[in-house]
Amino acid sequence: MTCYSSHSLAARRRANYSTAPMQGDACDIAFRRRHLLGIDGLSSAEIEEFLDLAAGYVELNRQAEKKRSLLRGRTIINCFFENSTRTRTSFEVAGKRLGADVINMAVAVSSMVKGETLIDTATTLNAMHPDVLVVRHPESGAVQLLSEKVDCAVINGGDGSHEHPTQALLDALTIRRRKGRLSELIVAICGDVLHSRVARSNIALLNIMGARVRVVAPRTLLPAEIERLGVEVFHDMANGLADVDIVMMLRLQSERMHGSFVPSTREYFHFFGLDYDKLRAAKPDALIMHPGPMNRGVEIGSEIADDIDRSLIRHQVEMGVAVRMACLEILARDLGNGPALA
């Protein structure tokens, strides 16, 4: 069970909070937690709060003048224990646009190699007085462990096969902007669900928001009792994609390709890769998503990935920066010493 610490001084901190510049009215504060560790356990109001705030940032990001000073003086450390380009860059851009100082730490090549434990690293970082830590770690639960040892806010940038909350939020924002809503939509999450933190966060979020969620994969790529998470399970694309509004493809990690989970990329694409033929089962206006990076010709055909009418993949990246700005703002507003003046 994931535990979310909601701090005890919420009232005082709220008093210190000055109105968010992008949103006119912020009286109804929903998210009162210190960290954003996962989607599971959030309320629909909390999720709406992230999405509403992020929606405003989408517009800001399209302007020539993108810089805000909301987080001026704040320090954000991107602490990535696992390789990442897009998520780390997205957080870096988000932090800088809000005026924070952003430091990137590639931990995999520094202290981990020297044998420092995760808790030692947390203690060390904490002593530098960061305001927000963005943490990615290859082990499920590691980000939560680290969050318990620091005084600042922690955003989970992906932990093992557990959660990737900002990805689920950016996916939700992407869908909401195109479909106008999340509730009642049928969403099929296809592919390597077994290893996917993106799938788990999305399953949680879509259920909270009242969407109907399916997973489609061979049994070797589905964890046991996945249906208990609130999904319908399918083992073939024709039935799994029937009448869906959204097709979310997951990345099949190449290190697992040749081996025991699935026989080969050729066979995987034949049965589970998304192409126009399989997409025909979905609603005529069904849209395609992928958290990236894509393996073209493995889980998704190139043509369909680049189809500007159907594919939302590039929108997802754009929404990513806006969502992460919203996350940083929401977590920063509750920091003990108050936000910098806008």
Binding site: P218, R219, T220, A224, H235, D236, H258, G259, S260, F261, V262, P263, S264, R266, E267, H270, F271
Partner: protein, 435 residues
């Protein structure tokens, strides 16, 4: 060559004892074939079949052609021991109209191209119908999944590593889970290899006296029990091949009672012989799994009688002299069986362990159902794959007369009762016994 290709488009077989396990029919009557399918079965069909070629069959049994779910054809790779052609001839002489080859060829059947190659060869040879299993793991290596979905889509009937067990439990779990996604059949050689080791004979007095490295009968039950647990968590269709021990059969019996999607077969040597057959190092009686104790042999018969064992397969394993005329430990495992499958199985009928209809079910309808093939029955509309045989006629097995390229069988000189008279595939006679 005994094969006459009459190619009759209309064929009436008169006054045969019709045996159709699918419908329970066991009565004297006519069977009428039009083209490649059965048009009618039972009663007097002479009026309807006016002008058809007539085969008088008084005193003979007419059953669906045998469905042999486990043979090795050695093509591609070892055609000097057996080929699609010679194996097809042997099948025809044995009354076998459908057979399924194991994937342990060279190259192994782990690629769509080999499945297609075998299908093409079978079409060219036009004898018994030939299907193939494909490898469960690439190169039969026991590590990486074979392209089971694509192989099945191109005709592979099931997945197995052939004469080797899938040893690694996690790999086997994934094989079963992946197979379940596509509703495919997984077949196992049920022997724990780490326990069997380099064993050659059943563990016990005989192996001890002969000084042969032994295989404990527990190697079978251990693998079966493990697999059954994996079937429980994956729900895949699982078939254990050539059961040889009472314990293994009891495990399958229990699994069936629990409702698991499990089937199994055995082969004639396991009910016709016991471990004493290896006598003075007779390599023709060297099998994998090894011939077991007399108690196990009786348990096999009981398993066949009560239906725990669904099918009898020949387990046809052709080997040339160079592979068998060797010291016992160096000799290859297995015997040829296509041409003796029916006669040896009929021993169970003559010994009154099984009725004729029950026996025929285990040779035709049961394996056809496991394999989901539309054969093994005398239903109108079904392919006219038939065997006409005399259940009583005594004859002496003479391995030199085998059509198979290989002659390795421990049954040479054995007197048996029950002779195949004619074998028909898709309405074509592919074998007729010379008077």
């Amino acid at each position: 060559m005994n094969v006459s290709s009459t190619g009759a488009s209309r064929l009436l077989i008169r006054h045969a004892r019709l045996l159709d396990p699918a419908s329970g029919l066991d009565a004297v009557g006519d069977l009428f074939v039009e083209g490649s399918v059965i048009a009618a079965a039972g009663g007097d069909l002479s009026a309807r079949a006016r002008g058809a070629e007539t085969i008088p069959a008084e005193g003979l049994c007419l059953a669906p052609g045998l469905v042999d779910m486990r043979v090795q054809l050695r093509e591609p790779g070892a055609e000097h021991m057996e080929s699609v052609e010679s194996g097809g001839q042997a099948a025809a002489a044995g009354g076998v109209t459908t057979m399924v080859a194991l994937p342990n060829t060279d190259p192994p059947v782990d690629d769509v191209s080999v499945v297609e190659f075998l299908a093409r060869r079978a079409r060219e040879v036009k004898l018994a119908k030939i299907h193939t299993y494909a490898a469960a793991t690439k190169g039969l290596g026991g590590r990486r999944l074979a392209e089971m979905g694509l192989l099945a889509a191109n005709g592979a009937l099931g997945f197995t590593d052939g004469v080797k067990a899938v040893a690694d439990a996690l790999v086997m779990r994934r094989v079963l889970a992946y197979a379940r996604s596509f509703d495919l059949l997984v077949l196992q050689h049920p022997e724990e290899p780490s326990l069997a080791g380099a064993g050659e004979a059943n563990e016990g007095e005989i192996a001890t006296r002969l000084g042969l490295p032994a295989i404990t009968p527990a190697a079978e039950i251990i693998m079966i029990e493990r697999d059954l647990r994996l079937v429980e968590i994956t729900g895949a269709r699982y078939h254990a091949a050539h059961l040889s021990t009472g314990a293994g059969i009891e495990a399958i019996r229990g699994a069936k009672a629990r409702g698991l999607p499990v089937t199994c077969d055995t082969a004639p040597p396991y009910f016709a012989l016991d471990e004493t057959a290896i006598g003075d190092y007779r390599t023709f009686a060297k099998l994998s799994p090894p011939l077991r104790s007399e108690k196990d042999r009786r348990a096999v018969i009981e398993g066949l009688r009560d239906g725990t064992i669904d099918a009898i397969a020949s387990d046809h394993a052709p080997w040339d002299q160079d592979s068998k005329r060797l010291p016992f430990s160096s000799a290859a495992y297995g015997i040829v069986g296509l041409e003796t499958l029916l006669a040896l199985s009929l021993e169970l009928y003559h010994s009154r362990h099984l009725s004729l209809l029950e026996l025929i079910a285990r040779l035709t309808w049961n394996p056809a159902r496991i394999l989901r093939l539309p054969v093994g029955r005398l239903t109108p509309g079904a392919p006219a794959d038939l065997v006409l045989f005399d259940p009583e006629q005594p004859w002496k097995i003479c391995t030199d007369e085998f059509r198979s390229k290989s002659k390795n069988a421990p049954f040479d000189g054995r007197t048996v009762r029950g002779r195949v008279k004619r074998t028909i595939v898709d309405g074509r006679t592919i074998f007729r016994l010379q008077a």
